[in-house]
Amino acid sequence: MASNIRIEDVRKVYRTGKDDVEAVSRVSFAVHEGEFVAILGPSGCGKSTLLMMCAGLEPATSGTISIGNTVVRAPRADVGIMFQDSTLLPWKTVLDNILFPVRVQRRPKAEYRKRALGLIEMVGLSGFEDKKPHQLSGGMRQRVAICRALVTDPDILLMDEPFSALDAMTRDEMNDALLDIWDRYRKTGLFVTHSIREAVYLADRVLVMTRRPATIIEDLKIPFARPRNRAIGETPEFNEICGYLRSLIERKQDQAATRREAA
């Protein structure tokens, strides 16, 4: 089954009465099967809105988003999703939270239980199966959210700044965990972040999005082979790429500031 994502000329306009706000402005790109693409941009640039439209949680004002050969009009069961907030149900145990999609989608629980336990082991949460979310740290909760997104073995994984609420060290750990998962399961992934290093470390391609206009201004291939490890973060090449992306984003913001001053 084809699991590529195609975004064609997508716009999102919020009507707020007086003046309309263009949250996403004519964006087009494709994510190929098995590819991990990061959308990088400052907060408020519309990158999360774009992801929500891919998930079928928000309608596009115009343009089309398709997964495989079908146009996305509503959420799909073959797409896993992670949010900035882990969104665990506080009264459910770790295991039951992970099995929540199985329950909702009426899949055979016994079958998926084994898979869930395997995922728990992989993210290093063995022994925590029966704990409740409030007994876990923020990083552990986000690990549970990863397991929940993967439990039904979706072809596509959409991630909306899943690690941005974590402290820097936990975030590094989570990045390594995600890389590890990627090497094992090879999904098609779309990852939204405002961290340049995170985007470069994780993705095969980084798309840079700006605020005004809310569109993609760069599509950069990241040349590092997989499996990756933290050592690549120390290489000159890695830092060169990060520097280039940073200058791109800052220049764009400076331009916007100058325009505002001129106006």
Partner: protein, 261 residues
């Protein structure tokens, strides 16, 4: 001082302030009451001293128990009916946006009516026996449950609702798996109000028409000028209210244990 003694001493001072302080205030109040009544020579009909009230239990324990059973059992039934009805109404109204928007404002408005004023109507409609009192008590105590539960259902975590949508959950699943559990804390805050309202409803009903019950007994004792007996009946009423409230808190704690594990 070692760590342990520090810990036990802070635990002791905490226990002192949570239990010791209110008990001390209560004792001071009772002593002041006693002294005031005795030194000012207030007649017992107007205000009996605490010792007079305790003394008055002597000889009426059997009678009080009989009336307490009547009021207590009716309060309990009204409370159970009110929580079930409140829950049912809340769920029914929240499954339909139209029904919610049409009826919720009226429920809030109704909450503002001094519903005690409606009590005589129920005697009018349903006669002077238990059904009238039960209906009235249920009627006034189901509002807080319904309103609180509706608030809870409407305030389910927005992120969790979005997760349900992303997982392709249908409305019924979202309702059962997410909205109902999120509304439970609200439901219990409403049920705690209902526990006290149910007792009030039954006593008011008994004031209007009853052949037994503590409300009836209070009027009876009042007509005979036995003020100490009124206070004795009130103490028993307090105990009934406390029992219902305590049961609700116990159930709430069980829910919290399930929630947080």
């Amino acid at each position: 001082m070692t760590d342990d003694t520090i810990r036990t001493s802070t635990a002791r001072s905490e226990a002192l302030s949570t239990f010791g302080l209110p008990i001390a205030v209560g004792v001071i109040f009772l002593v002041a009451w006693q002294v005031a009544v005795r030194t000012a020579h207030i007649p017992q009909v107007i205000l009996p001293a605490p010792t007079d009230i305790i003394g008055s239990f002597d000889g009426i324990v059997g009678v009080l128990a009989h009336h307490a059973w009547a009021s207590g059992s009716e309060s309990f039934i009204a409370f159970v009916l009110a929580t079930l009805l409140g829950l049912a109404v809340a769920i029914l109204l929240c499954t339909s946006v139209l029904a919610f928007e049409a009826i919720y404002p009226h429920m809030v408005l109704f909450q503002l009516i001094p519903k005690i004023a409606l009590a005589p109507l129920f005697t009018f409609w349903l006669g002077i026996a238990a059904p009238s009192r039960l209906t009235y008590a249920t009627f006034i105590s189901f509002f807080p449950v319904a309103l609180a539960t509706m608030t809870g259902l409407a305030r389910a975590d927005a992120n969790a609702l979005r997760l349900c949508r992303a997982l392709t959950a249908n409305r019924w699943q979202t309702f059962c798996y997410v909205q109902i559990p999120y509304s439970l804390p609200y439901f219990f805050s409403g049920a705690k109000v209902a526990a006290t309202m149910a007792v009030i409803g039954i006593v008011v009903g008994e004031f209007i028409s009853a052949k037994e019950g503590l409300g009836y007994y209070i009027l009876y004792a009042g007509s005979r000028g036995e003020t100490a007996h009124i206070f004795a009946a009130m103490i028993v009423l307090c105990a009934i209210g406390l029992l219902l409230y305590g049961l609700t808190v116990k159930a709430e704690q069980m829910m919290q244990a399930w929630w947080r594990g």
